[in-house]
Each structure stands twice: as C-alpha cells, then as structure tokens.
C-alpha cells in the first residue's frame, strides 16, 4: 500500500498495538538518504552530529527503506520500542501504560535487552531528572500533557502519544550526553518496584526542596532577588531574562529573542498544516457525497448517464478511501513532526530560562558577597565588636564567595554546554526539517498519483461508455 513509508503504518494506526516491533528503525538509512540532499553533501560531518534525524519515521519505517546498506555513519547504541498501550483503571484516575522494550550494547546495562512498564508521568519524571542533571542540554520534547484528550482516551490520541513517546526515548538515547545518563538507564531498566522507589524519592526531594534548604533554596533566593528588582512575578522567564540581559552576551540575547519568535512562526505554520489535513479530509467527504448524489440522480435517467454516474460514484468512493490513508500518512509524517519541531524550539527556550536563572543566581551571589563584605567591614570599623561576631561575618563572606565561585562555574558550564547543544540542535533541526518536508512532498505526491490513477481509470470507463453510444456523444452540449 505505501511502499514509501514502509508497509505497516496503517497497522500501527489501526490498533494492532501488540506488534509494532520488528527490526529497529533504520536510522542509518534515513541519514544515508538525506546525504543525497544538497545541504548534506555540503556538510557530510553532519551525519555524525545529528543522530536523531529521521526519527519521525518511527517503527513504521521498519520494513521500509531499501538503502540501509549505505554504510552507517552513525548508529545509536539503543533500539527502543514503546508498545502495547493498555488502559488501566477507570474514570478520572484512568491512565495508559506502555511497554518500553530496550536493546542496547552499552556495557553498563545489566542485560542487552530489557522490558519495563511505564506510564506517561514516568516519562515526565525522566525528563525532569535529565533537565536537572544535564543543565544546558536541549532535551528532546515530550508530547504535551493534554488533560482533555487524555480523558477521552481515543485510540487515535493514544497511538499518537505512543509514537511520540517512542520518538522521545530514541532521541534521548541517541543524544551524545543523555545516552549515558544514569537516569535514562534507571528508567529503561528498573523493575516496577525500584522505579516506584525512585518516583517516591523524587517526590520527597521535591517536597524537601519546597520545605527549604538545598540548591533549590538558593534558586528561589535568586528568583526572589529578581522580584526584588521590581519585575512582575507572573512571568519569571521574561522577568529573569530582562533582569539578567545586561549581564548577558549580546549575541546570545539576539539568539534567544530569535528562538522565542521562531516558536510562534513555526506554530502558525503547524496550525495551517493541521488545517490542510483537515481540509483534505473534508474534501474527501464532499467528493463522496457528490458521487452518491450523482448516482441517485442517474437512477432517474436511462442508459449511459445512469451507468456513468454510478461509475463515478464507486470510483470516487475508492479514491476517497485511498485519500483517507494518505491523510493519515500526512498527519503522521508531516503534521506531527512539525508540531514536534515547535516543541523542540520550546525545549530550547526552556534551556534559555535555565540559563537566565543560573545567571540570576550568580548575580544574587555577587550581591550577597557585597552585602556580607559590607557587614564585615562595618563590624571591623566598629570599635569593640566581639571577635566571634567578626569571625562569623568573615566566615559568611568566604562562604558567599564560595557560592559566588560555584554559581559562576555552574553558569559558565551551562553556557558552554548550551553553546555546544545549540550547534547540535541547529544541525539536527535542519536535517529533521528537510526530512519532514520531504516526507510531506512524498505523501502529497503519493496522494496526487493515487488521484491520477483513480480519475483516469474513471475517464477510461466513461470514454468506453461514450464509445459504445456515439449517438449520445454527438448530441449537443447546450450547457456550460
């Protein structure tokens, strides 16, 4: 049916969730394909740098592409499949569980392959862990937490999410840094009991941080300091950015503003892409209805017209059925990846926020050092200050200076990581966009060719009917 995207995309959509396995996604082949692209030719080293490209293809591409023998320039150490979505529980507490099957060649894993059961919030926890432990890394985007759709639990929604979660995990596993993360290993390997402990620990840590102390405390101090500058509390990202802009690299500021605007441009494009798919479906419906109406009209006539109209009706029904599949392909290969591209930009702006907060922390630390120094100097200048107070003040100064140093390092490390990540991200994005646009063109071409086949088949039938009755063919056509 769809040689282009591999044979089983419809199977996956139509609920045979039990078997999306098969051979792993041939990332290599996708990458190899993209090598024929002009940009890629200009930059062959890109292949190593953009492991995630082509991941939209997901498992559906499994049986597909033929050009896998092109010599893999890069291969992930993982093959991860998210499968078997099963609805658990009822009512408001209902959720969907997924099987996460991993095959890996990394030595630190206990076994080369394992399977665990996870639900959406486990993925969210993993994302949080990765974000906290790898500051500055641009995380692959998770699908959105959509409460309304989750409540409805439509098959389509579940399948879309399954696919998106699989893409997420494979992108994480293909990331040079994240692939080696202990958090990822725990997520992929831990038994349900171990994982439950991890989740509980995470919740406790969050509660503890809220109670006070720890690095989170200082972060909140930083936020408080920013607020102290008079910024509105409603938008920490914006206000922290503005507050720290003066201390930032002006080149970076431009990049950040660009990214924020890019997100809105891309999401507008995505909105139109979603509309386009919807309009294709609507046109199919209208074509079908028109064909049926014509057929009924033809029944009131005799002979050729009646036959021709009924041919038109059955042909258009075939065409619309084929088109429906094409629209599904369009939704999966174009609209969903475009949405992912939007979320991917959002992931970058999330890192921008982290960076702003790190800088704010650093600036708050500097402010604190100054304050402590002033206090210490004041104490020293005051005759008869008790020695223990002086010692205390001096200790506080050196502690503050220590925090200043570590916040500086944290910020600088984040900046270094982020700069590297932006480079990687940009290359990957170019490849992803090329792939999704190519898939878009191919899906559209496939639909249009289907149309040529169906309509010219009908035309041949009509001409055969006309040929059988030259009297009618020669009769006048008085209308336009």
């Amino acid at each position: 049916m769809d040689p282009l995207f591999g044979g089983d995309s419809s199977n996956v959509r139509h609920g045979s969730f039990s078997n999306p396995t098969g051979p792993p996604p041939p990332y290599e082949s996708v990458i190899t394909d993209s090598a024929s692209h002009s940009i890629m030719q200009a930059a062959p080293e890109h292949q190593a740098a953009a492991p995630g490209s082509g991941m939209q293809a997901g498992p559906a591409a499994a049986n597909g592409s033929s050009s896998a023998g092109g010599g893999p320039a890069y291969s992930s150490d993982f093959e991860i499949v998210v499968a078997d979505p099963v609805k658990q529980g009822e009512g408001v507490s209902a959720y969907v569980s997924y099987k996460v099957r991993t095959t890996t060649r990394l030595p630190q894993y206990n076994r080369p392959s394992c399977e665990v059961i996870r639900r959406f919030r486990d993925f969210v926890h993993l994302e949080g862990q990765l974000a906290e432990k790898h500051k500055g890394v641009i995380l692959p985007p998770l699908p959105e937490k959509n409460a309304v759709q989750k409540f409805q639990m439509s098959q389509e929604f579940i399948e879309d999410r399954r696919r998106a979660l699989q893409v997420f995990l494979n992108r994480v596993a293909a990331h040079p840094v994240l692939a080696k993360s202990a958090s990822l290993q725990l997520f992929l390997e831990a038994t349900e009991d171990t994982w439950a402990v991890e989740m509980a620990r995470g919740q406790a840590a969050a509660a503890g941080a809220a109670a006070g102390g720890g690095p989170k405390k200082r972060l909140e101090d930083a936020v408080g300091w920013i607020k102290g500058l008079g910024a509105a509390a409603t938008n920490i990202v914006g206000s922290s950015s503005r507050a720290t802009d003066t201390a930032e690299d002006p080149e970076y500021i431009k990049v950040r503003d660009y990214l924020v605007a890019l997100e809105s441009h891309l999401s507008e494009a995505h909105r139109h892409a979603a509309r386009l798919t919807a309009k294709e479906v609507e046109l199919g419906e209208a074509t079908l209805e028109f064909g049926q109406a014509l057929e009924r009209l033809g029944r009131l006539e005799e002979g050729n017209v009646s036959e021709a109209f009924s041919q038109m009706s059955s042909r258009s029904a075939e065409l619309v059925a084929a088109r429906r599949k094409g629209c599904e392909a369009l939704a999966a290969r174009f609209e969903a990846p475009l949405k992912e591209a939007v979320r991917s930009v959002r992931a970058v702006t999330a890192v921008c926020t982290d960076r702003a907060l790190a800088l704010a922390t650093h600036m708050a630390a500097k402010h604190e050092v100054d304050a402590k120094k002033v206090r210490w100097a004041k104490l020293r200048g005051t005759p008869g200050s008790p020695q223990d107070k002086l010692t205390e003040a001096e200790r506080e100064v050196s502690e503050a200076e220590e925090r200043l140093r570590s916040s500086k390092i944290a910020y600088e490390e984040l900046v270094a990581t982020m700069t590297e990540e932006l480079n990687r991200w940009q290359k990957e994005r170019a490849a992803d966009m090329a792939a999704l646009l190519r898939d878009f063109a191919l899906a559209q071409a496939s639909m249009a060719s289907e149309g040529v086949r169906a309509w010219s088949g009908l035309l041949a039938e009509l001409q055969a009917v006309q040929g059988a009755a030259p009297a009618v063919a020669a009769a006048p056509a008085t209308a336009t």
């Binding site: 040689p3 282009l4 394909d33 993209s34 024929s36 002009s38 940009i39 930059a43 890109h46 080149e251 970076y252 431009k254 990049v255 990214l259 890019l262 139109h272 386009l276 309009k279 609507e282 046109l283 209208a286 209805e289 028109f290 109406a293 014509l294 009209l297 009131l300 006539e301 050729n304 017209v305 038109m312 700069t419 932006l422 480079n423 940009q426 290359k427 170019a430 090329a434 646009l437 878009f440 063109a441 191919l442 559209q444 071409a445 496939s446 249009a448 060719s449 040529v452 035309l459 009509l462 001409q463 009618v472 063919a473 020669a474 009769a475 006048p476 056509a477 008085t478 209308a479 336009t480």
Partner: protein, 616 residues
C-alpha cells in the same frame, strides 16, 4: 508531464521561486495569512476572498456562476462554449420541428391562427435548418485564451463546431442609462448591446444590434411563456439583485453573461429560435415598448377588474356564458373569465373519478411527476456540487495559507536566523533549511494556484446541474399547461352536452329560445374544437420537448462528467508533478520518487482522445 504542451507551465522552477519570493516579499508586510485573503499574483480565480463573497446572496438555487467572478478569460471561454452550444442546438433543430410542427388541427376550428405564429415560424425554421448558410459559420467564438487554464481541460464542446448556425446571439457592452424616475429622482438602469447574426428567413438584415434592458428580457420571457404553451421555455436569469449591489461591475458582468446564455439557449431552441417574438426582440430598433410589432404580440391585457365585471354580468345572464373559440385556446387564468375558471376548477375535481383519462395523458402526467422528483434530486445534487466546490476552494486557500506561513518562517530565518547561525557556526545548515522551506512554500503556492483554477473550472462544469435544475420548472409548467388545457376542453364539452340536452328537451315552439340555444351550441362546438386543437398542439409540444429535454440533459450530463473527470485527472497530474519535483529537490531517493510517481502515460492518452482536446 510527459508529452504535454503546457502553455501555462509555471516557468523554470528557480524563476518561479524568485518570482514568488518577490511577490511574497511585497505582500508579507500587509497580508495576514490567517484571514485567508492572500494575494497570489493577479489570478482572480485563486483568490478565496472573491470566491467567498458573492455566494452569500444566493437565493433559491446555488449558482456556481456567482462563485466564480468572471474574468475576461472566462468570458472568452463562455463565448466559445456558447457558440458550441448553438451549434449543438441547431443539430437538434433540424429534426425537432418535424415532430413538433404537426399539431392535429382541424382547420375549421382555429379561427385566429395569427395569435400564435408558431406554425408558420416552424415551417421557416425547417427551411432555414435545411438551407446551407456559409455566412453563419461560428463567428462569435474567439480563439481559445492562451493562458487561462493551463493544462486543465476546457469544457466539453460538441464534436462538429463548424455546423452552420441559423442564429447567433451575443450580449455585450453594458451601458448605464439615466432616466427621470418617480418623484423627480433619477432612475438609472443598464442597457446591454444585443448583437445577432441570422440567416433565418424574414430577417431584414443578416447582422443587427439593438440595446435592451433587463426589463425587456422580462417582457420577452413573459411573451414566450404565453406563446409557447406546452414548450419547456428556457428560463431567463433570476432577478435576484440586492438593491445597491445592482450596479456593481461584478453583478452587471454576471447578469450580462446570464442574459447571453439565456438568448443563446432561446436561439438554439427548435421552435423558439425562429419565433417572431425572438426576432422582433433581437431586431426591432429603438425602444422595444414603443414597437408596434412587439406590442401587437402582447396578450390583450384584460384586467381582473374587467373579468370581475364580466362575472357579474354572466351571473345575471346579460353576458354570454359560452366561451368563444379564441378564448378556448387560452388558459383560463389569462382570459380573466372567472366563471370559466370556477367551472374548470369544479371539472378538475370531478375529473378525478369521472371522465376517463386517455393512456397517453396518464403517461404525460407520470412524466410531470418524474420531473418533480428529478427537481428534488437535482436540488440535492446541486447542493452537493456546491459543497464540493466550496471544499475545493478551501483546500486551495489552506494550501496557500500554509505556503505563505512557511514562507514567513523562511523569511524570518533569513532575517533573524543569522544570529543563531553565526553564534553556533551553522550558517550552512541554516541556508539549507531556508532553501528547503522556500521550495516547499513555493510548491504550496503553486498547488494553491492550481487548486484555484480547478475550483473555477469545476464550478463552471458543475453549473450544468444548476442550469438543469433551473430548467425543470419550465418543463413542469409545460406539462401543467397541457393539463389545464385538457380541463378547458373537457369543461367546454360538458357545457356542450348540457346544451344539447337542453335543446333536445326544449319545447320546440319557443322558436326564439331554440334559435338562441342553437347559436350557443354552434359556438360551443367551434370552441370545443379549438380547445381540443390547442390541447393536441400542447400535447405534441410536450412529447417533443420531453424528448429534446432528455436528450440534451443526458448529453450535458455526460459531457459534464467527462469534463469534470478530465479536469480531475489533469489537476491530479499537475499536483503530482509539483510534489514529485519538490520531493526530488528535497533529496528524495529515486526509489522513493518512483514509488509515488503517477503513471501519466495512459492518462495523457485518455486526455488526448477526450472529445475536446483538453490541453491547449
């Protein structure tokens, strides 16, 4: 697209892209793509704003013409097609009168045949049809426009466009005229130039042009309705004008096209085409209202008041209660004879169970019911077609929106993306990204343009459905006039029987009374004969018109479906071509391209053998 000469090739892809870039650069600032009113060059067919607007004032039926704002190109198209229509119509007219011109009229009964000029005209029509006229070749068909539709096939035209046309009509050059109106206000109206070329006998000159306003067309339609009882007179364009909009250029142009099509249909009609009424309308110089020949044809304007007066006279027996033969050949409603109308109504009720209805008459009544059923289904189909056209339009507009927003992204990347690119040292990737997005945007905009043309073409083709829907009421009216005439005839026969009976029972000594009754009987016998003759004539017209309508309708349907399908084939080919090219530009592998490429070889053969070569 293998083997197609394509005058509307969008140019070399790179030029196209540059062109587009400039166009879009110019529009990006002002256009809100979400509003759906993007500007794509000056192709009026592809603008969704224009397409969406006029469809609002649609009254009873969807009118596809309103969906498509006519352009010069379209006018040409219509003229070309219309010329073809006339040619096609005349093919029927050579056969039609043979059947229709043989009403079973016993000559003694028709006392005033001049009130209905049909018979003579039909003879003339036949003569004209048989006579070769070198001058009547297709003259109004300009060369097909070179750039209007690209490779989308043009509407089906008959196979022998060179058939000689006895009468060719065009409507052009709308001109605004102001005349003093009521209350000293100036009332303005539009006058159209109606040009005819005729080889029919009785025409004073082969070519003539007159000025007519819409009201004149209304008068013509009324006159034809009265003169051609039993015929399915082609309907004139609806009045449906909203005051204030009436003078807009778009409206005037739409009306001009509608009036032209109307006259062409009349000219192509086997009986009406050579009628005196049409000839006078097309020939008479100056104001039609003040033309003697024209006003001579108008039915005597008996007012309702007059009819009411007659009614009271009839009641008290001062006025003859016997219908005269001229009136017997007129519908009761026209004659304003209220007594007669009442009688016929009573007869109509009685007839259901009483008088035996001939088999042929029953057949014709079933045909009328079938026509009414067809109107229902045509209405549904026409609505479905309108929906299809609307959806096509929306899809095209959405593709344009997506293309434009994709282009905005590319432009934004170009303008601002340098910051990231230089920051991260990925300029090369950025430029690749921008190029990909622009290529996709260009493809989408091309798709949108193709869709716009397809929408216009499909709207035109499916207009056949609407035209036929508009024609059905005329058919129903034709059947109904026969049924009414049968009532008249039977009512008169009933009267006659009653008089005969009264005469037989009458005391023969009352000589004066007997003579009076005998006079009545003699007049009634004439009237019954006239009514019957009129009935037979209408019936014959019904039969002939039924065949003509069915044949034309089916031919139109077949042509419509074939054109529609050919348009779809061509459109799918064009779009497939654009997408395959884009996929290739974006680096799809040869295997991938082969998998999605349409086999256009066989379809292009089909298009070539289509009745009218669809590609210019």
């Amino acid at each position: 697209m293998a083997g197609f000469h394509d005058p509307l090739s969008f140019g070399a892809p790179t030029e196209d892209l540059e062109d587009l870039t400039q166009q879009l650069d110019a529009t990006l600032g002002s256009v809100q793509p979400s509003a759906g009113s993007y500007t794509l060059g000056d192709d009026p067919l592809s603008s969704s704003a224009q397409l969406a607007g006029p469809s609002e004032h649609d009254m009873s039926y969807p009118t596809y013409g309103q969906l498509v704002t006519p352009t010069r190109d379209l006018q040409h198209q219509q003229q070309a097609t219309a010329a073809g229509q006339v040619a096609g119509g005349s093919a029927v007219s050579t056969e039609g009168p043979a059947e229709t011109a043989a009403p079973a009229v016993s000559d003694s009964t028709v006392t005033d045949s001049s009130s209905n000029p049909l018979d003579a005209q039909q003879q003339g029509c036949q003569a004209a049809g048989a006579e070769p006229h070198a001058t009547a070749a297709v003259y109004s068909a300009p060369p097909e426009p070179q750039d209007s539709m690209g490779s989308i096939p043009s509407p089906h035209a008959p196979q022998q466009p060179s058939v000689e046309l006895p009468l060719v009509v065009s409507v052009s050059d709308p001109l605004r005229r102001e005349a003093p109106g009521m209350l000293g206000m100036k009332a303005s109206h539009i006058e159209y130039l109606v040009s005819s070329r005729s080889s029919l006998p009785g025409w004073s000159q082969p070519e003539v042009s007159v000025r007519r306003r819409f009201n004149d067309f209304v008068g013509l339609a009324e006159l034809l309705k009265a003169q051609f009882r039993g015929y399915f007179v082609p309907p004139r364009p609806e009045k449906n004008a909203v005051e204030g909009q009436r003078m807009s250029d778009a409206f005037v142009e739409e009306r001009r096209a509608g009036l032209q099509k109307y006259l062409q249909r009349l000219a192509a009609h086997p009986a009406i085409g050579c009628s005196e009424a049409l000839q006078v309308f097309l020939e008479a110089p100056g104001d039609l209202g003040s033309n003697i020949r024209w006003s001579g044809m108008l039915p005597a304007s008996a007012s309702v008041l007059e009819g009411a007066g007659k009614f009271s006279m009839q009641l008290i027996g001062r006025e003859s209660r016997v219908v005269d033969p001229v009136a017997a050949a007129q519908p009761a409603a026209r004659s304003k004879d209220l007594m007669r109308a009442m009688k016929e109504a009573a007869q109509g009720i009685g007839m259901r169970g009483g008088r035996e209805v001939p088999l042929e008459e029953l057949d014709l009544r079933r045909l009328r019911e079938a026509a009414e059923e067809m109107r229902e289904q045509l209405s549904l189909t026409s609505k479905a077609a309108e929906k299809l056209v609307g959806r096509l339009d929306q899809l095209g507009a959405t593709a344009g929106d997506l293309g434009l927003s994709m282009f905005k992204v590319a432009k934004f990347e170009e303008a601002e993306g340098g910051a990231l690119a230089s920051y991260t040292g990925t300029l090369r990737y950025s430029s690749g990204l921008i190029a990909d997005q622009k290529r996709t945007a260009a493809a989408l905009v091309r798709i949108s343009k193709i869709m716009g043309k397809v929408t216009g073409r499909v709207a035109q083709e499916l207009g056949t459905l609407h035209d036929n829907l508009a024609a059905v009421p005329a058919a129903v009216r034709g059947y109904m006039s026969r049924e009414h005439q049968m009532l008249t005839w039977h009512t008169l026969e009933g009267d006659l029987e009653a008089k005969h009976k009264a005469l037989a029972e009458m005391d023969k000594s009352k000589v004066k009374r007997v003579d009076e009754l005998r006079g009545d009987v003699a007049r009634l016998e004439l009237s019954v004969g006239a009514a019957r003759a009129e009935y037979d004539k209408i019936k014959a017209a019904n039969v002939a018109e039924t065949a003509r309508f069915a044949a034309e309708r089916r031919a139109e349907y077949s042509a419509m479906l074939e054109n529609f399908t050919a348009t779809q084939v061509a459109a799918a080919e064009r779009t497939a071509e654009v997408w395959v090219q884009l996929a290739a530009e974006l680096g799809a592998s040869p295997e991938q391209l082969a998998a999605v490429r349409a086999d256009t070889g066989s379809s292009s053969d089909l298009l070539r053998t289509a009745a009218q070569p669809p590609l210019l």
